[in-house]
């Protein structure tokens, strides 16, 4: 046929291009139906509270995570606080500056490595919120005389590592060389100053001396103070300008606190926080079948086979209880919940990632553990609950069956949170918000 002998591909392609451009100009919008007849069956949303015995077991409290030194920079001092607690802060001072840039007698600035230490002062900074005192308190500063280890030191032991356990010759970090006293008035600021002479300053100048250290004691009974940090300010005379006194700073290179008595694990409760920290672990099994809950069975056929996709919200609900007075929080506690990856290895099991979206954890005010106990705290773990019911996560990995309740930062404070445990009137329970709908069918 003649037409096949005359290629017209160019014309065709041009027309096709025009065609494609023309049809591409129309925006695609999905029509929104106006009648609910076009919707499938409506789901039911219902809240269900599952008692402890139906979803959890084997609650245990473990202590000893981290060291008071891990808080970093500061410590705690207390004297017969709440009638029981004594606490002292131990610090190691870093190397003193050996060179300073000073103006000589001609007014020129140059480094001077021949400095004469005349004295100084230890400046301590306090946490005005966590500290319990409203009135001025008096503290004593002493120099340790026995070798001690900042990481493992406790009220009874100066060193407490494997194959090396050495008790203090006098429990509580002593004996010490008494130096000076100072007063801190929280109304006047957050700082207390211990004035020191040159001989006292010289006690900490040798950084290789493992017995060198600062001990701060509280002399006034009935209070608990939190030390945020401390620095040693040194007064020095440079050789290049002997008429001038310059001030140098030596920081602390280690800081911890020791206290007595050490709290015992609660026999029937949940404990989170402290220093070293406490963790509470519990085994979780999301019930596959829900039955016998009147308010639930009134709207859903019982027994109901629970599907993971029906869990819209899941939370462990804890009821706060009053913490032992000596360890009651004075600032907010931040709770975290993480899966325990190897239950048999507890207390050394690694933990999974946090189940709480907020990186600061679940924040609870201090009154819940002191003046106003009995507050219900929800610790949400919806995704974990779904995976636990399915048995695997989205990657196909087996979902751990144990959760750990802990502080977001370990350790964070000497104080800890306490909650009612199983078997009590306000035992933990599982709160579920379920969305249960019929299958989506064709019209």
């Amino acid at each position: 046929m003649s037409v096949l002998e005359e290629p017209r591909l160019g014309t065709t392609l041009a027309a096709l291009a025009v065609f494609c451009v023309a049809v591409a100009g129309c925006e695609e919008q999905t029509p929104v139906a106006l009648t609910e007849d076009a919707l499938p069956g409506e789901p039911i949303s219902i809240e269900v509270n599952i008692p402890w015995s139906s979803f959890a077991s084997n609650l245990e409290v473990f202590g000893g995570y981290g060291s008071a030194e891990d808080i970093g920079g500061g410590g705690v001092i207390a004297e017969d606080f709440a009638g029981t607690l004594d606490a002292r802060t131990l610090m190691r001072i870093g190397a003193y500056p050996t060179v300073a840039t000073v103006q000589d007698t001609t007014g020129a600035s140059r480094p001077d490595s021949t400095l004469t230490i005349l004295g100084g002062r230890l400046v301590a900074f306090f946490d005005t919120i966590e500290s319990t005192n409203a009135m001025p308190v008096t503290m004593a500063l002493g120099a340790t005389t026995q070798e001690w280890d900042p990481t493992t030191a406790s009220w009874a032991f100066a060193v407490d590592t494997i194959n090396d356990q050495r008790p203090w010759t006098e429990p509580g970090g002593g004996p010490v060389t008494a130096l000076v006293q100072a007063t801190w008035d929280p109304a006047a600021g957050d700082t207390a100053v211990f004035e020191l002479d040159s001989a006292q300053v010289a006690l900490w100048s040798d950084t290789t001396d493992l017995s060198a250290g600062v001990r701060i004691d509280l002399l006034d009974a009935g209070e608990r103070l939190t030390v945020n940090s401390a620095v040693l300010r040194l007064d020095a005379r440079p050789s290049s300008n002997p008429d001038t006194i310059i001030q140098l700073t030596a920081s602390t290179r280690a800081s911890t606190f020791i206290y007595s008595p050490f709290p015992q694990p609660p026999p029937d409760g949940v404990r989170i926080g402290g220093a070293p920290s406490w963790r509470t672990i519990l085994d979780i099994a999301i019930p596959e079948m829900i039955d016998g809950i009147p308010e639930f069975c009134a709207v859903v056929d019982c027994p109901h086979q629970l599907d993971a996709g029906q869990i819209s919200y899941a939370a462990l609900v804890l009821t706060s209880r009053e913490t032992e007075a000596a360890f009651q929080p004075t600032d907010s506690i931040r709770l975290d919940v993480r899966p325990v990856l190897d239950r048999a290895s507890m207390p050394k099991s690694p933990l999974g990632v946090s189940l709480i979206v907020d990186p600061l954890g679940r924040t609870v005010g201090p009154d819940a553990f002191g003046a106003s106990p009995g507050v219900e705290i929800e610790v949400p773990f919806t995704g974990f609950a779904r995976d636990r019911l399915r048995g695997t996560d989205n990657s196909g990995n087996t979902t751990p069956g144990t959760l750990a309740l802990l502080s977001v930062i370990e350790p964070f404070s000497i104080s800890f949170a306490s909650f009612e445990g199983p078997g009590t009137a306000a035992e933990p329970y599982l709160k579920l918000v379920l969305t249960i709908g019929p299958p989506v069918e064709l019209p």
Binding site: A22, P31, P439
Partner: protein, 394 residues
């Protein structure tokens, strides 16, 4: 031999270009998509739309799947594709709104083989996409919490056809089209908790189902070339339309009865430049009612159309026939027991881009329709354009 290879090569290139267009990608065209099995989509080109045709009885290079006999008259290799954007305003009990969408209702290729013409066509059959939102409130922890149920249905039923037709003598032609229904339907309900824009602790609930559409059809048709008149008729006999749920779907498999569709059409040449066309379709969808859930209603899809073509018109020295038409067709599915009707006035023109020895090698047909779909509680007014590209001799 070289010519044969060259022609085949051009055919391959053209086929590849055609494949770039999402064939039969039906988009949203009507709120009636939400009724029953959706809104029937018709595999028509721009000329048929402009003439108000039901897709049968048109002379020329038409390769519509609803007119198997006409395929025999095409004579040479031909390809056609159509795009159809639409702009819709609706009014439902005082609720006003608008939307727009685009679809590709027809893609076809025909080639001469075995003394006749073979064809492959992909066309739309049912448009089903829509979404709907329901606002509610539940009590969680003793406090009222707003719920938002967003339901989205996404999918369509398309029709893949293989056809063959040949002339019988100089006046008659007969053809058969074997069709296969295909497509998917994804229905998803998502419930979210809390005020709009807020992200709370309560996660969304999601329930969805995916179904695959399957089914077959056979269409028999014939044409007769009488003096100054072409007459055509066809009958489409479908199987049930089966919906098979995916393994992840909790919903059940379903099967829907489809109607036998009868079509007749005729085009008369009233003079050297005037063609008059009329066509009708009869399709009783009432048997589908039995398989539909409560709240969905099936009616007939009967309709007719008339049109006129002024074939002597020219633009830029090329033939550009003008067309006008009207059609009225019943919508098979509605939200209540009262049938919805679509009425359309149409106009358009064709433009021959290339013609050799009286054979159109390239051309476009454009139709503009102004129509109304009216049901008991819903009225839509729409503009719809249809642009089809026809190319031959590749």
């Amino acid at each position: 031999m070289a010519k044969l290879i060259g022609a085949a090569g051009r055919a391959v290139v053209l086929a590849a270009l055609l494949a770039l267009v999402p064939a039969a990608d039906v988009g949203a065209q009507s709120l009636f998509n939400a009724a029953g099995l959706g809104l029937p989509g018709e595999a028509l080109d721009g000329r048929a739309r402009a003439l108000g045709s039901m897709g049968i009885g048109l002379p020329g290079s038409s390769i519509l799947p609803t007119d198997p006999g006409a395929l025999a008259r095409v004579g040479i290799s031909t390809g056609v594709m159509a795009a159809s954007p639409s702009w819709v305003d609706y009014n439902s009990a005082g609720n006003l709104g608008s939307f727009e969408g685009n679809r590709f209702p027809l893609l076809g290729l025909a080639y001469p083989v075995f003394g006749g013409m073979a064809s492959v066509q992909i066309g739309s059959f049912l448009d089903q996409g829509y979404e709907v939102t329901r606002i509610g409130e539940v009590s969680i922890g003793g406090s009222p919490v707003r719920t938002t149920d967003d339901f989205r249905q996404d999918g369509s039923v398309s029709n893949l056809n293989l056809g063959f037709a040949r002339t019988i003598g100089s006046r008659f032609a007969a053809g058969v089209t074997l069709g296969r229904y295909a497509g998917n339907l994804d229905r998803t309900l998502v419930r979210t908790y809390g005020e709009e824009g807020e992200s709370g602790n309560v996660d969304t609930y999601r329930e969805s189902g995916v179904w695959s559409w399957t089914g077959q059809s056979i269409t028999l048709g014939g044409t007769a070339e009488l003096p100054n008149v072409r007459v055509a008729a066809s009958i489409q006999i479908p199987s049930d339309l089966d919906a098979e749920a995916s393994t992840q779907t909790r919903g059940s498999d379903r099967s829907f009865a489809l109607p036998v569709q009868y079509r007749v059409g005729a085009t008369a040449n009233l003079g050297p430049s005037v063609l008059v066309h009329t066509s009708a379709v009869i399709a009783d969808w009432s048997a589908t009612q039995d398989a539909l859930a409560d709240g969905a209603f099936a009616h007939d899809g009967n309709g007719f159309g008339v049109g006129v073509e002024l074939s002597r018109a020219r633009v830029l020295g090329k033939d550009a026939p003008l067309r006008f038409g009207f059609r009225r067709v019943g919508l098979p599915f509605a939200f209540d027991d009262e049938q919805a009707i679509e009425r359309v006035f149409s106009g358009g023109f064709g433009l021959v881009l290339n013609e050799t020895a009286g054979v159109v090698l390239g051309g476009i047909d454009i139709a503009i329709e102004r129509g109304q779909r009216r049901g008991a509680n819903l009225t839509e007014h729409f503009w719809r354009g249809t642009l089809s590209l026809l190319t031959s001799g590749f």
